[in-house]
């Protein structure tokens, strides 16, 4: 018996990283549009026009990827039980060094919430992004509202993403392995996804 447990299949991981890379591209190519200070980021793509092209197509990839990723985990992500509510109430125990771990399924409640937020945000940004794709194609009011929504969701997404990245890396050692190799250590599973561990361990 090994000390690791399979967590994510190959397809699942490829999809995640596809979404992650497209997100990164979107951020890098979009920052230049966000504020003059970040205009230099366009140089990464050979100039603003090219950066905008990258942003547009990365956006398409990101939108489709996000939806697929969500759908592939929808069953898990959309089911909340009493433990999840407890987890949320205690903010996952992140506010204390020695909080009691509340047993969670394959994904904890925070991850589920983030998954749902991510797909909603992706849809909103995708839709508004399509409007902004050609700012002269739709009514001025719609375009103007799209700019606003796009930027609001970008900011929310950025904050969410920082939290996601922190918690998935140094904030929770061992988490990243699951998304890198597809397997997590048993200790990780036991600690972070007790119910899932039990279920998997039984088999």
């Amino acid at each position: 018996m090994t000390n690791t447990i399979d967590r994510f299949g190959t397809a699942s991981r490829v999809l995640h990283w596809l979404v992650a890379i497209s997100f990164l591209l979107l951020v890098l190519s979009g920052l230049g549009l966000y504020a003059h200070t970040f205009f230099g980021y366009f140089d990464l793509f050979g100039g603003p026009q090219q950066g905008i092209v990258v942003h547009k197509w990365a956006g398409i990839v990101f939108l489709i990827g996000s939806v697929l990723l969500f759908l592939s985990h929808a069953g898990e992500v959309c089911r909340f039980d009493a433990d999840d509510r407890r987890w949320i109430a205690r903010l996952g125990g992140y506010l204390s060094r020695n909080a009691e771990e509340i047993p969670q399924g394959k994904f904890n409640a925070g991850q589920k919430l983030f998954g749902i937020f991510a797909v909603i945000a992706a849809l909103v940004m995708g839709a508004t992004g399509l409007v902004i794709w050609d700012p002269t194609a739709y009514s001025r009011e719609l375009t103007q509202a799209s700019f606003l929504l796009h930027s609001i969701f970008f900011n929310l997404f950025m904050v969410g993403m920082i939290v996601h990245v922190y918690l998935a890396t140094i904030g929770n050692p061992g988490t990243l392995e699951g998304m890198l190799y597809g397997q997590v250590r048993r200790s990780w599973a036991k600690k972070h996804a007790g119910k899932w561990f039990e279920k998997v361990a039984k088999n």
Partner: protein
């Protein structure tokens, strides 16, 4: 440098449209194919090849009739929506004279300015670059009047120091449009009627959504970004990561 502005006195305009042509001549803008749509007004709207135009407005007042003419163009706002939304620094900018000019080299073809403008002025040309009235910034820089203002036979269209134009108009008892809107427009009008009659917004303002986007969400977002990073770092050093118990990773005894 004192802020410059146009003063358009509609009560002096005869709609000869030299402004339209002088602009095309100086800026070397081709003509477009048009048809008569039952009006003298042509082309029907500003285009990438038409930076200013005369509107013809017929208005009945009892037995009397009025035929109003107004020159429409970029308003050169102090608080310019287009400049506000333009991501490329220096693509759309205020000149030393306070006029809104642009540098086509720097235009990144994003079209944001089109929806950022409260007056629906900026257009994109065939090369997908922004075009609009730039108050002949090349001429003004070199001490010449903009082509349209120079050509206007009746001084309906004058150009000069904004403060002076305002002072003169007020001294002549004329009511001005655009003195304080949007930080003060760079195109001031003397109107013979309500702004609406001339197809001008009564209280022009940058669209609320643009304001929220650029003046609220953008700074908040940057604050949020750095805030989130800071919170994460703080969390890492104060509360710390959820460390794993390595013992749990040892293979279960028994079964060997």
């Amino acid at each position: 440098m004192k802020r410059k502005a146009f003063l358009i006195d509609t009560t002096r305009c005869t709609a000869c449209r030299s402004c339209q042509v002088a602009c095309k001549q100086w800026n070397k803008l081709d003509a477009e194919a048009t048809v008569n749509r039952g009006s003298y007004e042509n082309p029907p709207d500003l285009t990438p090849l038409l930076y200013n135009q005369i509107h013809f407005i017929e208005q009945e007042q009892g037995d009397d009739l009025r035929w109003l003419f107004i020159n429409r163009r970029c308003m050169h706002c102090a608080d310019a929506g287009c400049v506000k939304v333009c991501p490329s620094a220096g693509a759309l900018y205020h000149t030393k004279e306070g006029l809104v000019a642009y540098n086509r080299e720097k235009c990144i073809e994003c079209h944001y300015c089109v929806s950022g403008c409260p007056f629906d002025v900026p257009r994109y040309d065939a090369k997908q670059k922004v075009t609009k009235c730039h108050a002949c910034s090349d001429r003004v820089q070199n001490g010449l009047l903009p082509a349209c203002a120079k050509a206007c036979p009746t001084q309906a269209l004058s150009f000069g120091d904004r403060d002076q134009l305002i002072a003169e108009a007020k001294a002549a008892g004329k009511k001005l449009y655009g003195e304080n809107d949007l930080g003060g427009l760079g195109v001031l009008y003397v109107l013979d009627d309500e702004p609406g009659t001339y197809r001008l917004p009564k209280n022009p303002a940058i669209p609320a959504s643009i304001f929220f986007w650029k003046d609220v969400v953008k700074p908040l977002g940057i604050l949020g970004f750095w805030g989130a990073v800071g919170v994460a770092a703080l969390h890492y050093v104060t509360i710390g990561p959820k460390k794993l118990d390595d013992a749990d990773d040892q293979p279960r005894k028994g079964g060997e």
